[in-house]
Amino acid sequence: MLRRNMKNKSHRYTTTAVSLHWLITLGLTGTLALGFYMNSLPFSPAKLQYISWHKWAGISLLLLALFRLGWRATHPQPSPPAGMPAWQHAAAEWTHRVLYLLMIAIPLSGWLMSSAKGFPTVYFGLVQLPDLIGRDVELGKQLTALHVWLNFALIGLVGLHALAAVKHHLIDRDDVLSRMLPFLARN
């Protein structure tokens, strides 16, 4: 029994890691949806308000992603399920790395495009963040395109990540998904 508990423990993420995972998932989904929605609106005060909210959310997600990276670096990760093929492990590892990269690159590209377009970011309407680059209309357009494509990459990778988790749960019947969704744990 004791052995089993110890073994389970090494298969678990910390509560903080699980919370950060879902908080960032929720935040990214909402911010992404708001981004698409606000871009479909005609220029109006409401659109300006949504753009500001989107930027505040993006900076918050950048801070959360940095904190999460710090947490991950200082806390042990659960090992992959026994018997999982090496290529799957490598694929999961690289998916996670690119996801972390996108969690940083997406808000950063948004911040850069704002700076290039000449709109400083004022976090929660209180703290004006420094402009990362000078005003440059052409560069602003390129950075906007980059911001959008990074988001499409995120949508694709999150889809892959979620499908893999479901496959682990339903086909491999291991604890990969239940580590992140403890209520799914099989006793």
């Binding site: 220029f43 109006s44 005060p45 300006l48 753009i51 709109f119 400083p120 004022v122 309407g125 004006q128």
Partner: protein, 187 residues
């Protein structure tokens, strides 16, 4: 007698010196002058300006009270600092530049405040609405030219710039600061 002679000499000297320095500035070099403004949307600082305006000036710093200034501003030459904003700003709810293509300022009085600073009062007309405004103006000589710099705070709703959805001052602030820098040549 001696004192009288000295006084006379002093008066003469003063008159000569002020005649040498006195200059009436009458010709505003508009291509070397600027008329801009700053405002905030969701507390984000924004900058804009008018590319085309004409100014009539008759101003001698030594006889400030006799001076006068007026401006005719081509409202269609506005740049509010973003392409989206520029697409919207001429519309009926904002400047309505089809019905009101010109804005105008006419001075009514100029008061010297000392130390080459002056208070200019006058009537500002934008979008057919006229309001009394006063602006502090700093003067300095630059070679044979005179430089006039000043700023003036107005409320955009005083001029109905922002009707309908744009009347909401919680997103685009009511306060707008007009900033001008005029380079004028002497007579």
């Amino acid at each position: 007698m001696n004192i009288r002679a000295s006084l006379a000499a002093l008066v003469l000297l003063t008159a000569t010196v002020s005649a040498a320095q006195a200059a009436e500035y009458t010709r505003v070099l508009t291509d070397k002058s600027s008329l801009g403004f700053t405002y905030r949307q969701m507390n984000v600082p924004m900058e804009g300006g008018f590319k085309r305006f004409q100014a009539q000036l008759a101003f001698d710093p030594a006889q400030a009270a006799k001076g006068s200034a007026s401006f005719d501003i081509d409202v269609k030459s506005i740049d509010v600092g973003s392409p989206d904003g520029n697409g919207e700003i001429g519309g009926k709810a904002l400047f309505d530049n089809a019905a009101h293509p010109a804005a105008r300022f006419v001075s009514s009085s100029i008061k010297p405040l000392g130390n080459n600073r002056f208070e200019v009062a006058g009537k500002l007309t934008i979008k057919g609405r006229t309001r009394d405004v006063t602006a502090p103006v700093a003067f300095r000589q630059d070679g044979s030219n005179g430089v006039f710099e000043g700023a003036l705070n107005i409320k955009r709703t005083d001029f109905a710039i922002g009707e309908g959805v744009w009347a909401d001052t919680s997103i685009v602030a009511d306060e707008v600061q007009i900033r001008f820098r005029l380079l004028a040549a002497g007579k």
